[in-house]
């Protein structure tokens, strides 16, 4: 087990190097010279040379790459180009807000999606099943932007049930006041694709022989569905869940932007708008790392759910 984890962690290294190379290529080679951008409109050559020196982009590429590599390893990306806030402090202060939306979302969403998927898979082919599937398809086709605009306008602005936007200091204040509507909207958006997906996973299992056996033994339908079928569909469901996890950090960027929630996703948009390269670089690299770790965690969880799985 430990050997497996170590080996898998070791396998992350080449991919991580690749990610660093890709980001470096994008921002330092393709991205070109940001000095003009930062110096403003009335910059003299001296200032520009100064800025270049400050940013270290007057060095040859291999030196820049080495600097970037060191930054990744030491978690020290320097300061943001536009606000001069340390990138590490940006991470530390923006992460809680993102998590406060993301964690309730993924918990509630998974429970609801599995419950609905179970009930429609059980009555597969019926009118209910088809109605739910059509609703999901239509719901999926409406842009997330529309959900946000309409929900924010109707529920927060017109009815005043929720604050239109904002973020507080206390955990409970944020969780129950400011995060409620964003989570609700994110739920509306992400439930539809997940119900469809989970339904397919469950249907795959419901056709298996062991389900017939379980019924033949005289088990109750509840037991067949909730214990036998659900447990066997756990692997694809967990995979899907773990794939979604790192995306949550940045995937809620639209919601964070609309509701002025100081999270990582909003920071991504802001830094793209301001051409704030260090912040985007740092976020991309670490989210990629988080994705790889989440994949590893998913593989380890397979073993916990299904003892037959062998970790190779």
């Amino acid at each position: 087990m430990l050997a497996y984890i170590v080996r898998r962690l070791w396998q992350i290294v080449p991919t991580m190097i690749g990610v660093i190379l890709l980001i470096f290529f994008l921002f330092n080679v393709v991205g070109g010279d940001p000095a003009y951008l930062l110096a403003g409109k009335i910059a003299n050559p001296e200032q520009i040379a100064n800025i270049r020196k400050q940013l270290g982009i007057d060095e040859p590429y291999y030196v820049q790459l080495w600097i970037f590599f060191k930054q990744v390893v030491t978690f020290n990306f320097g300061a943001s180009w536009s606000t001069n806030e340390a990138v590490s402090s940006i991470f530390a202060t923006r992460l809680p807000a993102s998590l406060m939306i993301g964690i309730p979302l993924i918990v509630i969403e998974t429970i609801i999606a599995i419950l609905i998927a179970l009930s429609v898979a059980y009555v597969r082919g019926s009118l209910t099943d088809r109605a739910v599937m059509v609703t999901c398809t239509v719901a999926q086709s409406i842009s997330i932007l529309v959900y946000i605009i309409v929900f924010q306008y109707v529920l927060a602005y017109k009815f005043g049930w929720f604050p239109v936007q904002g973020w507080g200091n206390g955990i409970f204040e944020n969780l129950f006041k400011y995060a409620t509507l964003p989570v609700l909207i994110a739920l509306a958006v992400s439930l539809a694709p997940n119900i469809r997906l989970y339904r397919t996973f469950l249907l795959d299992e419901m056709n298996q022989d062991y389900v017939r056996t379980a019924r033949a033994k005289g088990l109750t339908e509840n037991r067949v569905m909730l214990v036998h079928v659900l447990r066997n569909s756990a692997i694809p469901i967990i995979t899907n869940l773990m794939i979604q996890l790192p995306g949550l950090l940045v995937g809620l960027f639209l919601i964070e932007r609309f509701f002025s929630i100081p999270g990582i996703g909003r920071e991504v948009i802001l830094s793209v708008e301001r051409s704030d390269f260090p912040v985007i670089k740092a976020i991309t690299v670490y989210v990629a790392l988080a994705t790889m770790l989440a994949n590893l965690a998913a593989d380890l969880m397979y073993k916990a759910v299904d003892p037959r799985v062998e970790l190779k």
Binding site: T15, V19, L22, L26, V138, S141, P246, I280, T284, V287
Partner: protein
């Protein structure tokens, strides 16, 4: 050899191929037929807009700003014809407002305030349009002189408007008085163009790389897999935004490039797995035996046998990219101001909604939802038709 088998005189009927079977299955599926028709209608609409048959004048101010949608009332005519009152003017051109002080806009929330102010001004300075303008515009005298020199009648000059504006349109008008129906049609063109172009680029890259990785295996497979793992470990939308930040350039072409270059990883995985499965099969070994080159075996022999997988993936991509383009354009990283996208329409609509002008939001949402729903249903049916084992 083939001809002998297919010769009906021997009494063996040619069995229907994958495509004709799939076509039959597709046509038997009512939802599929319906969604195909809807998609074709949208494509025709986009083509008509592309060749300038419809929505050519989407950027013209054809109506009063924020003209409401009206379907049944006969009010698609200039208001002057209906009520005989002075045609209302508006629009982005600043000089129109100055030249026509009798600016009337029933939907203007500040109307009362303006009227009140006008009343006060009238008391203190004595009425008269020119005087009123003078207060705001120091150049009013010069303009009045110019008007005289040009020798035309007062009102019609400054405005530069010869076309009378409409009071309402089927889908209403936007901030600048542009026809929302025209805009939403133009947006359809943008969406389908970006969706298909980016999907084709992504599919080409993914298929070629996947074919090489799966077919050759070994070092090439390792290298390409490494490349794939890099792209798949960065969340898709983050990669898109990062590249948008680097390119820092707007336009349809940029969007196509961004989406096409980042989206290939899904199809790479699928195609690679298919090539792994197929490369050891008898027909490929037979092709090898008759001296077909690697390239020929990969793309002439194997590819037709996996093309259904590619087609389904292509269809999935179109939907994904249409949705992504809308988000990019909404954020202002997408198409430029010289063209319309549903995303940029949503961006405008967001502020209009608070003022009560819901029609631009409604139009963009409706068109996008119908197209994407139809395309998704079509994709589902296509997958079912091409792979009957999946259900």
């Amino acid at each position: 050899m083939n001809t002998a088998v297919m010769n009906p005189s021997i009494g063996i009927e040619r069995s229907p191929g994958l495509w004709s079977l799939a076509w039959k299955r597709l046509m038997a599926d009512k939802i599929a037929v319906f969604s195909v028709i809807v998609v074709i209608l949208f494509v025709l609409l986009a083509l008509a807009s592309f060749f300038g048959i419809v929505a050519k004048g989407w950027n013209n101010e054809t109506a009063v700003n924020y003209a409401p949608p009206t379907w049944f009332k006969d009010s698609h005519k200039p208001s002057a014809d209906l009520s005989g009152k002075q045609p209302t003017t508006s629009g982005p051109a600043l000089d129109t407002g100055l030249a026509k002080p009798e600016f009337v806009n029933d939907r203007d929330p500040l109307r009362d305030t303006i009227n009140e102010l006008k009343g006060q001004l009238g008391q203190s300075t004595g009425s008269g349009a020119v005087d009123e303008i003078k207060i705001v515009d120091p150049l009013a005298d010069v303009i009045a002189e110019l008007k005289k020199k040009l020798g035309r009648k007062g009102d019609e000059i400054g405005s530069g408007e010869t076309v009378k504006k409409l009071d309402s349109l089927p889908f209403g008008a936007d901030k600048w008085g542009r026809d929302v129906l025209d805009k939403v049609i133009k947006g359809t063109e943008t969406s389908l163009l970006v969706g298909f172009a980016a999907a084709i680029i992504a599919t080409l890259i993914g298929t070629v790389l996947g074919a090489f990785a799966g077919y050759f295996g070994g070092k090439i497979d390792d290298a390409l897999n490494w490349f794939y793992s890099i792209f798949s470990s960065i969340p898709y939308i983050l990669l898109v935004l990062a590249i948008a930040a680097v390119l820092n350039k707007k336009g349809v072409f940029t969007v196509v490039l961004i989406l096409g270059l980042t989206g290939w990883s899904n199809i790479f995985r699928v195609v690679r797995a298919e090539y792994l499965k197929h490369k050891g099969r008898d027909y490929v070994r037979a092709a090898n035996a008759i001296g077909a080159s690697n390239m020929r075996r990969m793309f002439v022999h194997i590819f037709p046998n996996i093309s259904h997988v590619v087609l389904v993936q292509l269809s999935i991509y179109v939907v994904l990219f249409i949705k992504s383009e809308v988000i990019l354009s909404y954020l202002g990283f997408g198409v430029g101001v010289d063209t319309v996208s549903w995303g940029s329409m949503l961006n405008e609509a967001q502020n209009e909604l608070i003022l009560g002008y819901w029609w631009q939001l409604g139009a963009a949402t409706l068109f996008m939802a119908v197209l994407v729903t139809a395309f998704s249903l079509f994709t589902d049916s296509l997958r079912d038709a091409l792979d009957p084992k999946l259900k």
